[in-house]
Symmetry: C2
Subunit: 342 residues, 2 copies
DNA sequence: GTGAAAGCGCTAACAC
DNA sequence: GTGTTAGCGCTTTCAC
């Protein structure tokens, strides 16, 4: 059994209240008492019981991290970034995965509240889920990742998807592409929505072909990426360039190209969203719209800590940059055109 | 404020003990009372407070997951697998990352104990860390992943590294390789130790060249993989085949080959340990010694739950299979020999 | 500057 | 079959 505050008090020959005061850095404790207490705590390797403390104070120094799938490298790196700032501040990290199912997610929120986690870092499955804003508001703090919940006053960290998409499309247009396709996620999540909107806007501005069939949305999975890529490439007039709107979609797209025996960039130019080992070490390396997920995790954690420190601070939504990284998966469309007409 | 057991009791016109009995499925409750309680709980959306409960019972229905780095896909997939079995049983998942630092890890154990987590799933940083066995024993249950702690009676789930390594080396030997190198991790972790031991044993059995310089051990990082690969390839007599003993090492090795302008399998045959997107979608696809990390996570969680259900059950160490998956990154050494002598 | 004591929400004796 | 109550380990008035 771990030592209790009572044992520390006895050993230090003071009352439990004095020990508690030392523990919580209260001012009115004599130097002498404080020292005896500190000594006793060290000798017993005393650590205050979190459950008891949280029952008294309503606070637990734990935060929930809710994402669709922790094995997605984007989320696992964000988790790592958040941990980097949370851990030194004494916060624990409760992981929960929603599988992108709003009902399961609601259940997770409930369980996390029951655990009295102080705050949440969460990429909600569906921004329009019923009474989501109210649910989120039951936590002392909540930071949305790349999401926007109607009616919610939650803080958020988002990415400037438009900037990277604009650069990528400008690059493709400059290369001579006119038929560019996008595979993206569901429109109930800001991240995917922003990518689609930016794609449409900049495609129009750059004079790319407007063809609704060139924009596919669906689940953010490998399967969707695979199927969408195959469908796009079997169009009468297939695209000469493709943007994969998420790391899982990219995996599917690359598999599809492989199965079809198509080479990048000769047969198709490819741009991925979010940099992972696969995009960096692919042969040839894949152009990406990149962002810094470790930094996003850090930012989210910092926002959350600030919120927990001051519930009444103004709502903050911070936007982190994305940039287009040129590598070797994009080229002139000429060859692809030839291949097609051959 | 969430509803308390008292409010439920009042609403159901029973005492708190009856509510508690219903909550904990005690036998002696009248059907009528039970129903009124259930109804009241539903109406209030009551969820028992975990802190209060855990203070009373000493149990928290939370487990700690301690690994070096959650962004390593092996660990994030194991986490996912464990979550699949833990979540439906009502357990929460507290994530903690050690960065492979035994001191930090000890600190994490202490924090997790303070949180009263019931059990641990952990890949310890250093099996020989001082009083590690005792530390682990302070938890009601503990499952080691691919580790063996001297003097500890913790359960464990391990991989049969020897089997996959034997198959891989037999394959390479069959292709005609005689100089095969291994890059692996530190010897204070069973996983790496087993791979090195199996490599040495089967290399000897198959009559491969014995050259100490061909076995490199170090940190399980991309940097180590990169540097070790470059060193091996600049040997007077470089290896004709290479086994990368971990997914991070593989990333480094592939980078090194890329920087050196070397192609697989023409210039070097490559076998990786653990299958990831990179190995599957590399051009050419990389041969791997594979295992099922999702299943490993499930297994670990099941072992832990069984331990928590019966502290006195016999210690269990389960071993899951590994298999060599032939793809396209290994070939006859002939060409490499020519290249070298040219 | 310090101690005594109430009480956070729950479970588990114990009494009836 | 049900209610009363002590107490888990802590924080926080309130006295002194």
């Amino acid at each position: 059994m771990p030592p209790t505050i009572k044992e520390v008090a006895e050993r230090a020959r003071v009352s439990v209240s004095t020990v508690s005061r030392v523990l919580n850095d209260y001012p009115h404790v004599s130097e002498e008492a404080r020292e005896r207490v500190l000594e006793a705590m060290a000798e017993l390797e005393y650590r205050p019981d979190v459950a008891a403390r949280s029952m008294r104070t309503g606070t637990s120094r734990a935060v929930g991290f809710v994402v669709s799938d922790i094995s997605n490298p984007l989320f696992s790196v964000i988790a790592k970034g958040a941990d980097v700032v949370l851990h030194p501040r004494g916060y624990s990290f409760v992981l929960a995965t929603s599988r992108n199912d709003p009902e399961r997610e609601a259940e997770l929120f409930s369980a996390l509240r029951q655990r009295r986690v102080d705050g949440l870092i969460v990429a909600v499955a569906d921004e329009r889920a019923p009474s989501l804003a109210e649910r989120l508001a039951t936590f002392q703090g909540c930071v949305l990742f790349d999401r926007e919940v109607p009616g919610s006053s939650a803080d958020a960290v988002c990415s400037d998807h438009a900037a990277g998409m604009a650069q990528a499309l400008a690059h493709l247009a400059g290369l001579g592409h006119r038929r560019v396709a996008l595979i993206a996620g569901s429109q109930v999540q800001l991240g995917s929505r922003a990518r689609v909107a930016a794609f449409r806007k900049h495609a129009a501005r750059l004079g790319l072909e407007r063809d609704r069939r060139l924009v596919r949305t669906g689940e953010l999975s490998r399967e969707t990426g695979y199927l969408a890529a195959r469908e796009l490439l079997s169009l009468d007039a297939p695209p000469t360039a493709l943007v994969a709107g998420n790391n899982q979609l990219t995996v599917g797209v690359v598999s599809a190209l492989h199965d079809l025996g198509l080479r990048v960039p000769d047969d198709l130019s490819l741009v991925a969203c979010d940099d992972v080992d696969l995009t960096r070490l692919h042969d040839p390396p894949i152009d990406v719209i990149d962002r810094d997920p470790l930094e996003l995790g850090r930012l989210a954690a910092e926002l959350l800590l600030e919120r927990l420190a001051d519930r009444d601070a103004p709502v903050r939504r911070v936007t982190a940059p994305t940039t287009f990284v040129r590598r070797a998966s994009t080229g002139v469309p000429a060859l692809a055109e030839e291949v097609r007409s051959a």
